[in-house]
Amino acid sequence: MTIASAIAGIGATEFSKRSGRSELQLAAEAVFRALDDAGLPPSEVDGLVTYSQDANQEIAVARETGIGELSFFSRIPYGGGAACATVQQAAMAIATRQASTVVCYRAFNERSGRRFGQPDATIGGEPSSQGLEMSWHVPYGLMTPAAWVAMFARRYMHTYGAGSEDFGRVAVAMRKHAATNPAAWFYKRPITLEEHQASRWIVEPLHLLDCCQESDGAVALVITSLDRARDLRHSPALIAAATQGAGAGQMMMTSYYRDDMTGLPEMSVVGRKLWEMSGMSPSDIQTAILYDHFTPFVLPQLEELGFCPRGEAKDFIADGGIELDGPLPVNPHGGQLGEAYIHGMNGIAEAVRQIRGTAVNQIKNARNVLVTAGTGVPTSALILTTP
């Protein structure tokens, strides 16, 4: 990128099950906090980026926060796959002088409002390309994210001899990390593998505790040029690489027709690009924020990104590989399983704290942090680094 950019501010609301306020208010609160964190007034912002799924228009957020004129606004599709791509879009806008300071945000009442895990009989109803894609699945009752993911998980288990406990260890590790994070919904509430195994079936092979929680809340990020960020309140988190990825034969969440169903080809796409752009390799990463809406996809992410060989993620995890004192601490904040489900945006904020050295579960010498977005969908990823 011609102009290097960095994340200069992070802000969030509390993470709850019932915010008691509108999604637009949540968005505005998070934006204010991110700007205050950066030490910038709203008038400095000239770009806004969010998810296609976000219910708060950029112009509405700009009105509520007094941001004023905008020269750049953009939205990213495919659910939680958008998370890191909001930062990528902001960085591109800054690099090409479309904007100088961009705020990325995600705000929703996903628990007290519309819950993504609840079946929506209308999703296959329209003959758009997405409606037609859904129509090969929804009529059979295959219509919740847990079910879509479970179909991949079953094949992965079959191919690599993984068991439900291997998924459970991910949940246990995330809840362990969240237990020491006061911002986490599951603060001081770790779980055991036995509790994971005893939790009820949602969609076999997924237990309840394989599924991340549902949350109300918002997170916002302030992105500006590295030069500018150096003069602001905190040490900048340089965006060393940011990219999007879709695999060949990709579908929204039902890519069952393209390969052996045990990998995440779209994560391989972003992984290759991240290493190429940053000049780094997996051994350069001190901690990773891996998207954990459902435990099973943490395993192929480790494999696709090159942190362990294919099919061996279960052993890597069983050996404590993803824990705070392991070779690759994953989600020190507790992830979406432990902290909150803010569609991946809270993970980017955690990556910034790790780079700043201000995280509650701070990883020593965290110089390079890798973050991924939604799994099983067209996705995105980034690497933040100390400049």
Partner: protein, 319 residues
């Protein structure tokens, strides 16, 4: 939420008067337990329930515990005096009330409350005698199931005259709702596929009992799910072949939660691999979900969901 309804006054009064009489009758003893509290029964029950507490089954352990010997799990209270398969129930004051409710059309029944109180642990050798009294009658109420009456009774178990356990039990006896639709007319199935000119051939095939796979008319490539172009040769000229109708389960899930409109849980959805070389998603039916596995041979079966929609599904096939 329940609200009071008007029913024919006579029925209401008749039921209320009967209930009043039965409640006034007080406690009626039932048949004594066929066996005293005993270790073999405890062993079977704890094994079935997965309760491994050794104080129920291990004499030595129990001797050292606060109980000083084997005790029966309190939750077995009801077990000791159950009549068993084909056994005869002894009459209770509630029977007449339930029968009268049946007679007046309140034929549905659902248990709503069961609260047990354990006055002391039971030990091998205790011989129990149950006694039942009716304690409550309320209605008619309007409930989600239909209009009905709540009937409550209490069973007390005695050992040598000492009340050792008791249980309050409540049922709702309700008048099942009449089906609104005419016989033969099904409710519309809510999970409908979107269909357009690119996919219509598939659903037309399903209506004719054919499982159709798109085939490129130029290069012969088979493709499912179908689309308007052949990604291999760019031809938009397409036709289809009829699949043999057999396949094997490539992956599958068992959906338990949350409830899905138009479906009863649990149900199985599978990715089925066809010998023609494509995969297709559908339900596996006509077998228990525990029997489904990867590699399971299946064949297509067509199921009518409502007046307009038939879905291809998969049933087990001998390999």
């Amino acid at each position: 939420m329940t609200t009071v309804l008007t029913t024919p006054e006579s029925v209401r009064e008749l039921l209320a008067a009967l209930a009043e009489r039965q409640m006034a009758a007080g406690e009626t003893p039932g048949a004594p337990a066929p066996d005293p509290v005993n270790l073999p029964m405890i062993r079977h029950w704890t094994a079935a329930m997965g309760d491994r507490n050794p104080v129920y089954t291990d004499e030595e352990f129990a001797a050292r515990s606060v109980h000083g010997g084997i005790v029966a799990p309190p939750a077995m209270a009801q077990v000791w005096t159950m009549p068993g398969l084909g056994g005869e129930r002894s009459p209770t004051p509630v029977d007449d009330v339930l029968a009268a409710l049946d007679e007046h059309g309140f034929t549905g029944v659902v248990a709503t409350n069961c609260e047990q109180t354990y006055h002391r642990y039971l030990r091998p050798g205790d011989r129990l005698v149950p006694a039942t009294r009716m304690t409550g009658f309320a209605g008619p109420k309007r409930t989600a199931l239909g209009e009905g009456y709540f009937v409550t009774w209490e069973v007390t178990w005695y050992a040598s005259g000492e009340a050792v356990n008791s249980m309050v039990f409540r049922v709702l006896k309700f008048r099942p709702r009449e089906r609104k639709s005419q016989p033969g007319i099904r409710k519309s199935y809510p999970l409908r596929p979107a269909v357009n000119r690119d996919t219509e051939f598939f659903w037309e095939g399903v209506r004719k009992g054919e499982l159709r796979i798109q085939r490129c008319a130029r290069c012969g490539e088979l493709r499912h799910p179908p689309g308007p172009m052949c990604p291999r040769c760019r031809s938009a000229d397409r036709t289809h072949v009829t699949a043999s109708g057999v396949g094997t389960v490539y992956s599958y899930v068992v959906h338990h939660h949350p409830p899905v409109p138009g479906r009863e849980t649990p149900f199985v959805v599978a990715v089925v691999e066809l010998p023609e070389g494509v995969r297709i998603v559908g339900n596996v039916v006509d077998c228990r979900y525990e029997e489904v596995g990867i590699g399971m041979p299946v064949r297509v079966a067509y199921r009518r969901m409502d007046e307009d929609l038939i879905l291809p599904m998969w049933v087990p096939r001998e390999s």
